[in-house]
């Protein structure tokens, strides 16, 4: 059996990533590419992943299910996949940025954490 | 006797419409290629001379009477009826500026035979009284006198005596049982008596019997040119009757284009029966003689010569290879014009144009096409095989001040005959 036909969308996508990285360096402009908005042949996402490779940073997030944040071999380009509690994929994107926003500690969460820490400190004596 | 009317003209159109015409009009895509093939257009640049445009009256008639859509439109009053005024306007296009040469028929990409249709359109034109007065006169003389130029038997007899004296040969008249019946055109009798002498010599050498018919010597047929089959039939039947009475095997058309068409192709159809004899053009007969070794010539023309194909003989008659074989028999410097054979350019005077004084000016103007061809070649002698072409060639060359002798092919062959006693 011959390999299945390709949409040919990988090459333009790689070009898009290249331009986005150039912009990031030049102006600090970040960008998100939604992989689910594009048609891909069954084999193509695998191929894309192989081309982009694995970079230095890899993170895992646990909020409303798992999320994986993987820097690609091209620093500044991140492969981000969100899963729901059922471990079904709900979103798959490539982000071009210094660090994905989702990794940043959020103001509201810090505040809540701070409250908890304060009450912990108030309730016990070490 | 009744005067021509539009009604008679339209009736004649209806008589002429047949499957070929219906298919021709159905196929025409108005591409305009016929204009580029017509010397009346190429030499004047006037688009009204486009061959298919000349057929507009017939096309409209066909459309209105013989197509579903045309009939519907006519019933709804949406179509323009054909009028006398219109036919009168088209007279110039159908008679003065068409020689029925059929060059347009050869280039038409959908294969339309436009010359065939123009010939048929002329039936309606004549029946409705829109034929040129000079052609009417010529037809009148043909029917009443026996020749369009008014040549009577005594004139021919005088020429025959002269020929007999020149050649020392007998010029036979009304010989029952002769193998060949020789026809002549008035032009040959009056302008080119050499032809008759050449015939006498050639047939003598070939050892073939021949005769003239005192009641049917004229080969030309004004009925064909003006487009009246009844007159054409009347004229052609004289030849047919004479040939059958004299029991000849073959009737020979002289060096005249439309005469050949009239007797060779039209006669049986006009008479409505097959003929009891064969009809050949003189060139075909000469070529027959050559092939059978009956034509012994000596000497070759030194001068550079070319051949003007008469349209009716070549493109409309299929006599194309014959003159070339004959020319190469007596010349070693025969060259072809750029367009020749079935693609030759007409001299501009055929199809009744030469008999039509109204067409004189344009006839000379379009001769420029032949002048251009001849200038390219720079020959010493121009040979042809049609008396009508020959007159136009001589007259045209004179007008364009070109000094170039024009010779009939039959005479040229006769010049080279080996003298036998």
């Amino acid at each position: 059996m011959q390999p299945l036909e390709k949409t040919g969308n990988i090459l333009p996508l790689l070009h898009e990533i290249r331009h986005a990285l150039e912009d990031l360096l030049a102006t600090g402009q970040t960008m998100v590419i939604d992989l689910q908005a594009m048609p891909f042949a069954p084999s193509e996402l695998v191929e894309l992943k192989e081309i982009l490779g694995v970079g230095e940073v890899s993170a895992e997030l646990h909020a409303l299910g798992k999320s994986t944040i993987q820097e690609t071999a091209f620093s500044g380009a991140w492969w981000i996949v969100h899963f729901n509690i059922d471990e079904k994929m709900i979103s798959q994107t490539i982000e071009i940025c210094h660090i994905p926003a989702i990794l940043m500690a959020q103001h509201a969460d810090i505040q809540m954490g701070l409250q908890q820490l304060s009450s912990t400190l108030g309730g016990v004596s070490l | 006797m009744s005067a021509p009317t539009l009604q008679k003209g339209l009736n004649a159109f209806a008589e002429q419409i047949d499957a070929p015409i219906a298919s021709f009009f159905s196929s025409c895509v108005h591409c305009g290629m016929c204009a580029d093939a017509c010397l009346f257009y190429t030499e004047t640049g006037n688009p009204k001379y486009t061959p298919i445009h000349k057929l507009e009256p017939l096309r409209r008639f066909w459309k209105q009477e013989y197509t579903l859509m045309g009939r519907l439109k006519k019933a709804l009053g949406l179509s323009k009826a054909i009028s006398d005024e219109e036919l009168e306007e088209w007279k110039e296009l159908l008679y003065n500026s068409c020689t029925l040469c059929g060059r347009c028929s050869m280039v038409c990409p959908v294969g339309n035979d436009l010359a065939y249709m123009i010939r048929k359109t002329r039936e309606g034109m004549a029946a409705s009284g829109h034929a040129p007065i000079d052609l009417v006169g010529a037809s009148n003389r043909s029917v009443t006198i026996g020749s369009p130029m008014g040549v009577r038997l005594p004139a021919l007899q005088a020429q025959s005596r002269k020929a007999a004296k020149e050649t020392g040969l007998d010029i036979p008249f009304d010989q029952v049982g002769a193998e060949y019946l020789i026809l002549l055109s008035s032009m040959e009798i009056m302008n080119y008596p050499e032809y008759l002498q050449a015939i006498a010599k050639i047939f003598k050498q070939a050892g073939k019997t021949w005769t003239l018919a005192s009641d049917a010597f004229e080969a030309t047929n004004s009925g064909i040119q003006i487009g009246v089959s009844d007159i054409a039939r009347e004229l052609v039947s004289r030849v047919v009757n004479a040939a059958e009475k004299l029991q000849v095997k073959t009737v020979i058309s002289p060096e005249c284009g439309h005469a050949y068409t009239a007797i060779r192709w039209d006669a049986p159809n006009l008479m409505g029966r097959k003929l009891g004899f064969k009809v050949r053009h003189i060139l075909e007969v000469l070529e027959d003689f050559r092939q059978s070794g009956l034509l012994k010539t000596e000497g070759l023309e030194e001068s550079k010569i070319t051949f003007h194909d008469p349209c009716q003989i070549a493109r409309r008659g299929g006599v194309i290879d014959e003159p070339r074989h004959l020319l190469n028999l007596v010349s070693n410097n025969f060259v072809e014009m750029n367009d020749h054979g079935k693609m030759n350019w007409c001299c501009g005077a055929g199809g009744g144009v030469s008999a039509n004084e109204e067409a004189h000016e344009i006839k000379i103007k379009v001769f420029n096409r032949k002048v251009t061809q001849l200038k390219e070649l720079k020959v010493d002698t121009l040979v042809t095989a049609c008396a009508n072409c020959r007159i136009q060639l001589e007259e045209g060359l004179e007008e364009y001040q070109i000094d170039l002798p024009v010779v009939g092919l039959t005479e040229m062959i006769a010049e080279h005959l080996v003298e036998t006693k």
Binding site: - | A19, H30, P47, S105, V110, A267, N269
Partner: protein, 220 residues
Amino acid sequence: MNSATFLIWVRETGFLIASSIFIIGLTIRFFEIFMLGRKKDLSEPKGCAMRGGFKTIFTRFLPQDSNTFQRSYFIIIAGYVFHIGLLVALFLLVPHIELIRAALGFGWVGLPTPVVDFLTVLSLISMLALLWHRLTNPVLKMISDAGDYTAWILTFLPLLTGYLAYHHLFFDYTWLLAFHILSAELLMIMLPFTKLMHTFTIFVSRFYGGAISGHKGVQV
């Protein structure tokens, strides 16, 4: 009416109407022509009318000689490119072959779409050039009538809408496809009653013309 129901209409009712008129019209036209008949030529033949007729059907695809070509090169080249493009698009595009297969029960192999697309573009350009020629050349200006322009539009529209539909240009594809089919149906309806009839009668007229020459022994 929305595009989807319009598409169904042209594929169903529209096609039924168009194909009926097309077939009825064609048949009538052929009866009109052939039933007129022609007189038997009683003159002794010099050549063969039949051979001349059938030969001319093919030989007249090309100009008689190089001089004729030089004199009319524009109309010949543009005409050729236009016809080739049109015929390739009509008979070698797979969706069209499927239509033929559905209607007649047989089909053949098609060409890759980019090839058809390229020839369609050439065809469209040629048609525009031919129109310009018709509007400016003195001969064509004189001999052209409403029928010539109608025929041009009827032929141009299916090519154009087909091209637009294939490239999804300007309009929603469903509308374009429906208009493309509709334009082809208009062409079918009008073909028997316009000069487009030459599509079929060209073989008849070439035969007759060639037979007249062939009978007289003129090489065709």
